[in-house]
């Protein structure tokens, strides 16, 4: 984050202003990514008018950075109408997340004319058989890359977003090389998010400990490996008073149905803009204020963890595990892979599982059991 943006974020935090919002325009999608956490059926998306009213409310509330995402945003027939309204009528700084397979020369030129800050495109591999095997759409890699070239030719900022999973574990270097050749930025995220309905089966796609270790020791990705993998100093009163993340503090998420959540990865309903004003939900929702009240020192288990001040712990993932003040196991795994030191949560689970091991010495005939059988 730039120094000035950091300063603005601090001021927004002090004034309780939602500086950043992700608005998903639809959950419908023209790809069927194997790791996707969304239900792609339309359960009653906001109309064009409802979205414009929401944009008015968000602008009045002080929202500056607006990420339009989905689902696939270009599936909405009114997408450009919404985008033009956001940019020209309400002056948002707009970022787009898309698979880009519906972007051709004409759409790229139009995005340039409207003016968007960046376009993030999901690219999972440089190899068509791997990328298309994840999206389940033949030819999708080629179409996404063609779109990236159209956008670059218009001078737009393009970012490849790569989610690391079992299927594409070997290919992240290839994606980075491809991005470099095309002059686009590239991000890599090893987080697999559970389905929004709570189904955790897709977590089986997440890469294992050894793979994570390898990624975290890749100098090309993390820079100074020793610095990246170092164990943070123990938390003091100041660091433990810190906020867990920006969710609910300077950022939130709105679904295509008008539901407001602290973050896209934090499915705690806080209100619906069809029933309440955006700013009222942001300021007065009990759930939003509950999220807002959490400090690192309030976390169960994590407060005593070695990694408490350096962990990427996601409160949304923790919430999906059952407790927004609890640990997020995926982030425990990351901290462990990064430093080699297991988290407090992992140690606690190990103790629990050790207690569950049932070892029973078989009694000699006619004798009572020697050791107490456990559960």
């Amino acid at each position: 984050m730039s120094g000035l943006l950091e300063e603005m974020t601090e001021r927004a935090l002090a004034k309780n202003i939602p500086l950043t919002v992700q608005l998903d325009l639809t959950y419908r999608c023209n790809e069927r990514c194997v790791h996707c956490y969304l239900d792609h059926d339309d359960h009653g998306e906001m109309t064009t008018q409802e979205i414009k009213q929401l944009l008015d409310q968000m602008a009045d509330a002080g929202v500056f950075i607006l990420t339009l995402s989905g689902g696939e945003i270009f599936l909405r027939k009114d997408f450009f109408e919404i985008l033009e309204y956001a940019r020209w009528q309400r002056q948002f700084c707009v970022k787009l997340k898309t698979n880009a397979i519906m972007i051709h020369e004409r759409e790229a030129a139009r995005l340039r004319d409207i003016g968007v800050e960046s376009i993030q495109i999901s690219i999972y591999s440089h190899r068509p058989e791997v990328h298309d095997g994840i999206t389940l759409v033949p030819g999708s890699l080629q179409r996404s890359l063609d779109a990236a070239r159209f956008l670059k030719s218009q001078g737009l900022r393009v970012i490849f977003a790569n989610v690391l999973m079992v299927q594409n574990l070997q290919d992240y270097q290839g994606v980075r090389t491809l991005a470099g050749e095309m002059g686009v930025e590239c991000t890599l995220d090893p987080t697999i998010t559970p389905m929004m309905d709570g189904d955790r089966s897709i977590l089986s796609l997440a890469v294992d400990h050894n793979a994570l270790q390898k990624v975290f020791r890749d100098q090309g990705l993390v820079g100074d490996v020793d610095e990246f993998c170092t164990i943070a100093a123990p938390g003091d009163d100041n660091s433990l008073a810190a906020l867990p993340c920006s969710a609910g503090h300077t950022a939130c998420y709105v679904s295509p149905y008008g539901d407001v959540f602290p973050c896209v990865q934090f499915p705690l309903p806080t209100g619906n803009i069809r029933k309440q004003r955006f700013l009222d939900i942001w300021r007065y929702s009990d759930q939003m204020n509950d999220v807002r009240s959490i400090r690192l020192k309030d976390l169960t288990t994590c407060t005593s963890c070695t990694h408490v001040t350096s962990c990427t712990r996601c409160p949304g993932l923790a919430y999906m595990e059952g407790n927004m003040r609890g640990p997020s196991s995926q982030d425990c795994e990351k901290s462990f892979a990064r430093t080699g030191v297991p988290s407090a949560n992992m140690l606690a689970k190990k103790r629990t599982s050790a207690n569950l091991i049932q070892i029973q010495v078989l009694p000699a005939a006619g004798n009572a059991p020697v050791s107490g059988a456990i559960a």
């Binding site: 943006l5 603005m8 202003i17 020209w88 700084c93 707009v94 800050e117 001078g155």
Partner: protein, 105 residues
């Protein structure tokens, strides 16, 4: 002496935060903040009101400054903002159509 007209560049992103404008350039995504005087100038820059009128009607009423000095400072500021692609300046009124077509990333 010709009058100067100023218009907000519609290609930038802008939001008022605690009374000061936060502006992201559409040219290179650089972030700027405008102080209170520059914010008044930005908000009044409709392409139709001459800069000297903005200064006398908005800035001089808000701050205790001499009109001549204020206009000189405002012109300097307007040209700086124009250099960053935040404002458009012209010796003719700037129509919304003209300003909409201006500049590319």
């Amino acid at each position: 002496m010709s009058r100067l007209y100023v218009a907000r560049n519609p290609r930038v992103a802008a939001r008022s935060l605690d009374g000061e404008m936060m502006i992201m350039s559409g040219r290179d995504s650089t972030l700027f903040t405008l102080n209170k005087t520059a914010t008044i100038l930005w908000q009044a820059a409709d392409g139709a009101t001459p800069l000297d009128e903005i200064v006398s009607e908005k800035i001089c009423r808000e701050f205790e400054v001499q009109p001549g000095e204020a206009l000189h400072d405002a012109e300097t500021l307007a040209r700086e903002l124009a250099d960053h692609g935040i404002l458009q300046i012209s010796e003719q009124p700037i129509s919304p159509t003209t300003s909409m077509a201006g500049g590319s990333r």
